[in-house]
């Protein structure tokens, strides 16, 4: 169940692209944390700093018309799927011009234009939705796939069993990726989880599963490429567990004092962006090119944040839009 460790023929251009995108995700989230500090993002945000390698390794193998669903910790996945950072930041700030006109915010970030069918505020809920999207794809005879990224906390909810069973029984084009950062909110997942782990549970359903180092974007990229190829070939669902570490707290407001400082320090030494930079430097990429990726990402997200701050609130008329077709939602109507 472990990914191949054979000598790597590096595709430097592809990996430089990964490096750029990982920096864009990190810079976006650093800007979002700044916005939180400045009380411009009022609701909870769940940073994925330290987990960017999974977002990039997974989404770089998805087509624009493939479907992705995500969790409350979904900024990185959404950006990696191709969503517009400006619309996302406006959404986080609750502004007009956000992906959902400011009606969803961070936990419901979505961009259907790029096949991103939503982050979800309910742990594991996206597993079923992905099964259904894959079911529709199969019914319609399309060659798209549907992918769900969820956290390790999700494997103890019912949808992990019900949804994966569903995908297997109906031989659906579904990729399930467990982003295992070791913590379910503020609780160590291992302390609350029986048995040998997520991959073994999926294997028990007959779903081929692999475990990869989620902080090694190349390992994720390769594992996902194999899985996507099998899925598109009609082989049914695949499961990947990508081990990583959440370098921040559960939310922007969580100082995560339940973790020992040396545990966090050790995790920073496995920072996926630094790891990729080292790999690229070893392959002969100039430090200046790597630094340029970081600089450009920060510049972009600074501008995105500045622009979002200037965006107006949604007009109050938005409040009654898109509830449903039937009936009048206004209190005055009754």
């Amino acid at each position: 169940m472990s990914a191949s460790k054979t000598a790597r023929n590096l595709d430097v251009d592809r990996l430089l692209g990964h490096h750029r995108l990982m920096w864009r995700i990190r810079a976006f989230e650093e800007a979002a944390l700044q916005a939180n500090t400045e009380k411009l993002v009022l609701g909870a945000i769940h940073p994925s700093i330290g987990q960017e390698g999974i977002a990039v390794g997974v989404c770089s193998n998805l087509r624009r018309d493939d479907i992705l669903t995500s969790t409350h910790r979904g900024h990185g996945h959404t950006l990696a799927k191709g969503a517009d950072a400006g619309a996302m930041m406006r959404e986080l700030l609750g502004r007009e011009g956000g992906n959902s006109h400011g009606k969803g915010g961070s936990m419901h970030i979505a961009d259907f234009k790029v096949g991103m069918l939503g982050a979800n505020g309910v742990v594991a809920a996206n597993i079923h939705i992905t099964a259904g999207a894959a079911h529709a794809i199969k019914l319609r005879g399309e060659d798209r796939i549907a992918c769900s990224i969820f956290g390790d906390g999700a494997i103890n909810r019912g949808p992990f069993l019900e949804g994966l069973n569903w995908a297997k029984v109906f031989v659906l084009p579904a990729l399930y990726v467990c982003e295992d950062n070791g913590y379910a909110s503020t609780t160590r997942t291992a302390a609350m989880t029986a048995g040998p782990g997520a991959a073994a549970r999926a294997e028990a359903l007959g779903i081929p599963s692999v475990e990869v180092d989620g902080n090694d974007v190349l390992a994720v990229d390769e594992a996902v490429a194999d899985a996507v190829s099998a899925i598109r070939g009609g082989g049914g669902p695949r499961f990947i567990v990508a081990e990583t570490y959440r370098l921040t707290g559960h939310t922007a407001a969580d100082p995560a004092t339940y973790r020992a400082p040396d545990e966090v320090e050790a995790a920073w030494r496995r920072d996926p962006i630094a790891k990729l930079a080292q790999m690229l430097a070893d392959a002969g990429v100039r430090g200046a090119d790597l630094a340029e990726n970081e600089r450009a990402a920060k510049q972009e997200m600074d501008a995105v944040y500045t622009e979002a701050k200037a965006a107006p609130w949604p007009p109050l008329s938005r409040g009654y839009e898109d509830v449903q077709d039937a009936g009048d939602p206004r209190v005055e109507a009754f």
């Binding site: 479907i67 669903t69 956000g98 992906n99 959902s100 006109h101 400011g102 009606k103 969803g104 419901h108 979505a110 961009d111 259907f112 234009k113 069918l117 939503g118 979800n120 505020g121 309910v122 809920a125 597993i127 079923h128 939705i129 992905t130 099964a131 259904g132 999207a133 894959a134 079911h135 529709a136 794809i137 019914l139 319609r140 549907a146 019912g158 949808p159 019900e162 949804g163 069973n165 569903w166 029984v169 109906f170 938005r318 839009e321 898109d322 509830v323 449903q324 077709d325 039937a326 009936g327 009048d328 939602p329 009754f334």
Partner: protein
């Protein structure tokens, strides 16, 4: 004019819609054998196992998959087998299906129908008998449909399948075999009540199987010289307050009768709305008639104790008219 059963009326519509639109499909437990009440008999043969799909006993997955499939361009019809079992899929219905359109700012709609066979069905006891329609009326985003007749089951299911909203479609188990005239297969719009019986002295608002109890009560009241008007709401969200107001303006008296528990039932919503809007026109207090707040029992006498019967409705109407 065709006469058909309540169950066949829905099946006829479903088959028609599936022929019309290849994106309509059904999923649920036991559908491959025609469904637990036979409501899908013959459809697997015509449409095959992909479009009349069996499912594991995983209500949450059934409904959650339907949400994903609805957001991916199909129109799923979900069978929940018993309304009671839909409680295993509350997150999928309430947090996902009902909210997706709004929280994603209109980027998607969730066109699905959730069929939830409801209500008391002799000695089915506490977990196979409930009427929980009022819960769903509390959830923005959902449509709630409770047909009482074969004709309405034919026309309302058509509207439900064509609707872009998630629709909770509650068929009463005791009505499956009820025969009635079905003059056409036209869609019946949501939010338009049916005057089941015209009258001038007291308005009885109801829905689902209790409409028949109300009509029977009205017939017996007529022999005593009391003319009750029976309004079948047909859909609880949206609900036809204009039809109710028009009737109560005429009669000055209102009873809302339903099989579900009276406390927090949808009758409370109707009663409060009428009391607010028509206070000056009422000749008597607005009354509700529902089940006591007791789980539904197995033994027939205990089960019957909970029923809203024609006798109970008639008695309440008599008391109101005397005031």
């Amino acid at each position: 004019m065709a006469v058909m059963t309540y169950a066949d009326a829905a099946k006829t519509t479903l088959a028609e819609e599936m022929r019309r639109d290849p994106l309509v499909w059904c999923l649920g437990e036991d559908l491959g054998r025609g469904g637990v009440f036979g409501q899908y008999k013959g459809l697997p043969e015509e449409f095959g196992p992909q479009r009349i799909s069996d499912a594991p006993i995983s209500e949450a997955a059934i409904l959650g998959a339907a949400v994903g499939a609805a957001m991916t361009g199909t129109r799923p019809v979900v069978e929940m087998r018993f309304a009671d079992f839909a409680l295993c899929a509350v997150d999928e219905l309430v947090n996902q299906a009902a909210k997706a359109r709004y929280m994603f700012g209109g980027q998607t709609k969730v066109p699905l129908v959730v069929r939830e066979p409801m209500g008391m069905w002799r000695s089915s006891a506490a977990q196979h008998s409930q009427s929980l329609e009022s819960w769903y009326t509390h959830i923005p985003g959902l449509v709630v449909v409770c047909p009482a007749t074969p004709h309405d089951n034919r026309g309302l299911l058509k509207t439900a399948i064509r609707s872009d909203d998630p629709v909770v479609y509650m068929e009463h188990k005791n009505l499956w075999a009820l025969e009635g005239e079905v003059p056409d297969g036209d869609p019946i719009p949501f939010g338009v009540a049916r005057i089941a019986r015209a009258g001038t002295d007291v308005t009885i608002v109801s829905w689902s199987a209790t409409v028949h109890a109300a009509t029977e009560a009205a017939e017996s009241l007529a022999s005593e010289g009391i003319e009750a008007e029976v309004i079948d709401l047909r859909t609880l969200w949206p609900w036809d307050k204009r039809a109710v107001f028009a009737s109560v303006e005429k009669t000055g008296r209102l009873i809302v009768a339903h099989e579900s528990v009276q406390v927090g039932g949808f009758g409370a919503e109707v009663a409060a709305t009428v009391a607010d809007a028509l206070f000056g026109k009422l000749k008597a207090p607005v009354k509700r008639l529902g089940s006591p707040r007791v789980p539904i029992a197995y033994a027939p006498p205990l089960e019957d104790m909970l029923r809203v019967t024609p006798a109970k409705i008639a008695e309440m109407a008599r008391t109101l008219v005397q005031q």
